[in-house]
Symmetry: C2
Subunit: 422 residues, 2 copies
């Protein structure tokens, strides 16, 4: 009922329904439920385009990731949800409220908690989990034949402690913006629009500290994170490493894959480690961010250098070595992670001191994009999960792999080519 | 061991230890672990003063509240912790790292994750729970005779669903700043400094959306929150309503009391309510923030007005009526709340539709300051907890009452008068 009403109002702001509501509001002397702040172009990012936004977009200050379980058995319901989400995303990213009416006799089309808030570079990036295509061996919606070969199930990695309630999902949404309320607001509206088709499975918020634009931000371990990454202003690199070409089928050209992994860090344990040990573990100096032995953050990491004793300057099990393209036959991923904190929770460390205590449940919401997860995250993390010295302090506690369709052209909806091909 | 080392380094930045470490760092070509951003005065708030900061301070964008349980049986350990926390707070609020050394053979004195981050109006506001004075009838530390009469135990209110793991605590810290990482960073350092004396009991982060300075922010219900509040630029009002005078004993003059209550809001349920019902429940219009029947946000709330049928324009059980000074014999509190979100969690609503489902665990981290909790929060909330129409959607799930000592003079530590009086 309510979903139908809301859907009817979507896009009807300038139609009869919208005008009537605005008239009613005006008659009562109340302003309509629209934004009052002026919308400045540089704080608005486009929704439509060949690729989804929020991927090569310069990182916003806040994220809110949500995974959903589909509850319908009908493909048409999912396609209808994609239409609703697409229409909503096109408005939300442009700073426009959903609904737009102020009829006291109706639930507002929008929760209203960002009314008057300046635009904050909101992006919404959608994906589908492997289980939307095949679940327990069943082709639930007839989509299996359109599942690209690259869209494998993530293997179990050494050390994985994935909690089911924080893992997987049929649909995913990554909201990013410069305001935490705008990010939450967007996902909340999408949750409401999902009634009858999908329910939320897990969510995770995250933040990046507000460093100057030219300063690499630090993660909660206190190290600069993001010094070496795929250059997002290099179209050749993006086409080679991020955007799917013809290999994924027509519906996926210009799409990509995202791996999301909340990684809890034993921060109290880490904080007790000697500075030199921390730096050896990472393979970089803490203050400067430079590779061990160098002084410039952006100095090339010389993985072949040995010290006077003949030992490698950057340890064999140092994080930067195991993550580097040189160690992984050129494999590269676009990292777009955030720090997270979920308050305090019990932790059971799997390395000494093996404590079971109440500590910050905080760490890294690892997010990476790639053209092919088999030659991206899976290839790189397979070795890291076994050998990375940092594993003593970090635990992957959930997440998943999601296929992100290409961007949406005006008048179309997300992955319309896929739904129409079934 | 480690605590002693850290303590020794605190304040020794310019001493031999600090110089030696800096020398070692320089010898290795590495900069010391100090901030690189210039510290601009207007982003730094003073730590020392007659009252603690973070109370009448214009609200920062982020908060991180933490409650601790004391684990020592010795008053001297608590006094020593207050010294460490005071020294640390004086540095952190001024954008200075703890420790300041870069000795590879030592754990860093500071986790380092805000190195280079611009100052962000950090304030740290400390308090003590009732259980520090008397716990299970026992005067644990000889402090009971200094417990002011006003520092009562919070009664149980109608509808309270306080989870023990989110309630109470012997010590409290409210960190506020304009950057989420700076806020978390400050509390994390204080947690580390508490080793051997106290452990964290519960924490809650919060945020306020980034509206313009002259715009009242909206809470997650979509309503403006904070339109009517104690004017923080009125010294008479502050002395009458916030700052404790002679009645609390010499050690508490210039102190205050804080009530912190995380309040979960059934947002999905609320979002389904008709706009008119939402407005009647609050007693204000949603878009404008004006009292029902008015158009100006700052119009006086006329609680005596009746409509043509003789019914009150603002309902008897409307939130603004029950919260107003007129309804509470002039009682007023300084609200300083934040929105919070903790991901999704099961919710069991105690009103129809009585659902037990996975929903956003989000709402309001209610924070209020007052000179006397008996004539402040307790007086106001006693009636609200029984009659407020909003109770259908909100549930108090934890929190506590904490006594906040006065501000610290240079060379002194927090509540030193109390600890020296025992």
């Amino acid at each position: 009922m309510h979903g139908a009403t809301r859907r009817g109002l979507l896009g009807a702001t300038l139609g009869l329904a919208g005008l009537a509501a605005a008239d009613r509001a005006a008659a009562q002397g109340q302003p309509p439920l629209t934004k009052t702040a002026s919308l400045t172009g540089d704080r608005l990012l486009p929704f439509h385009g060949p690729n989804q936004n929020g991927i090569v977009t310069p990182v916003q200050a806040h994220t809110y990731f949500a995974a959903f379980d589909v509850t319908t058995t009908k493909l048409a319901d999912i396609a209808a949800l994609m239409q609703r989400w697409t229409e909503a995303a096109a408005k939300l990213t442009q700073g426009l409220p959903l609904g737009g009416d102020a009829d006291p006799a109706q639930p507002p089309g929008d929760s209203g908690d960002v009314l008057g808030l300046p635009p904050s570079r909101l992006t919404l990036t959608f994906g589908f989990g492997p289980t939307l295509f095949t679940k327990d061996g069943v082709d639930r919606f007839g989509l299996a034949k359109h599942r690209p070969e690259a869209f494998v199930d993530l293997p179990r990695f050494v050390g994985d402690q994935l909690a089911p309630e924080r893992t997987g999902g049929d649909l995913s949404v990554q909201a990013c913006s410069d305001d935490p309320q705008a990010t939450l607001h967007a996902v909340r509206q999408l949750m409401n629009l999902a009634y009858g088709a999908a329910t939320v499975r897990w969510v995770q918020s995250g933040f990046v500290p507000g460093y100057q634009p030219d300063v690499t931000p630090r993660n909660l371990m206190g190290f600069k994170d993001g010094t070496a990454n795929i250059p997002v202003n290099d179209p050749d690199a993006l086409n080679r490493l991020i955007w799917v070409g013809d290999e994924g089928g027509a519906w996926m050209k210009g799409g990509t894959y995202v791996v999301v992994r909340p990684i809890r860090i034993a921060l109290e344990h880490w904080d007790r480690m000697k500075l030199g040990f921390q730096e050896q573990t990472v393979g970089r100096h803490k203050a400067s961010g430079a590779p061990i032995g160098a002084t410039d953050e952006f100095a090339k990491t010389d993985l072949d250098a040995n010290d006077e004793d003949g030992n490698p300057v950057i340890a064999e099990n140092a994080h930067v070595r195991l993550a580097s393209p040189e160690t992984n036959e050129g494999a590269q991923i676009l990292r777009r992670g955030y720090s997270y904190e979920n308050g305090v929770a019990m932790i059971a460390e799997r390395w000494p001191p093996w404590r079971h205590v109440l500590e910050l449940d905080a760490g890294l919401l690892f997010v990476c994009y790639q053209r092919d997860p088999r030659t991206g995250f899976i290839k790189i993390f397979d070795r890291m999960s076994k050998f990375d010295m940092m594993n003593q302090f970090v635990t992957h506690i959930g997440g998943g792999l999601f296929i992100c369709p290409p961007g949406v052209r005006p008048g179309r909806y997300l992955a319309q080519d896929l739904f129409e091909a079934v």
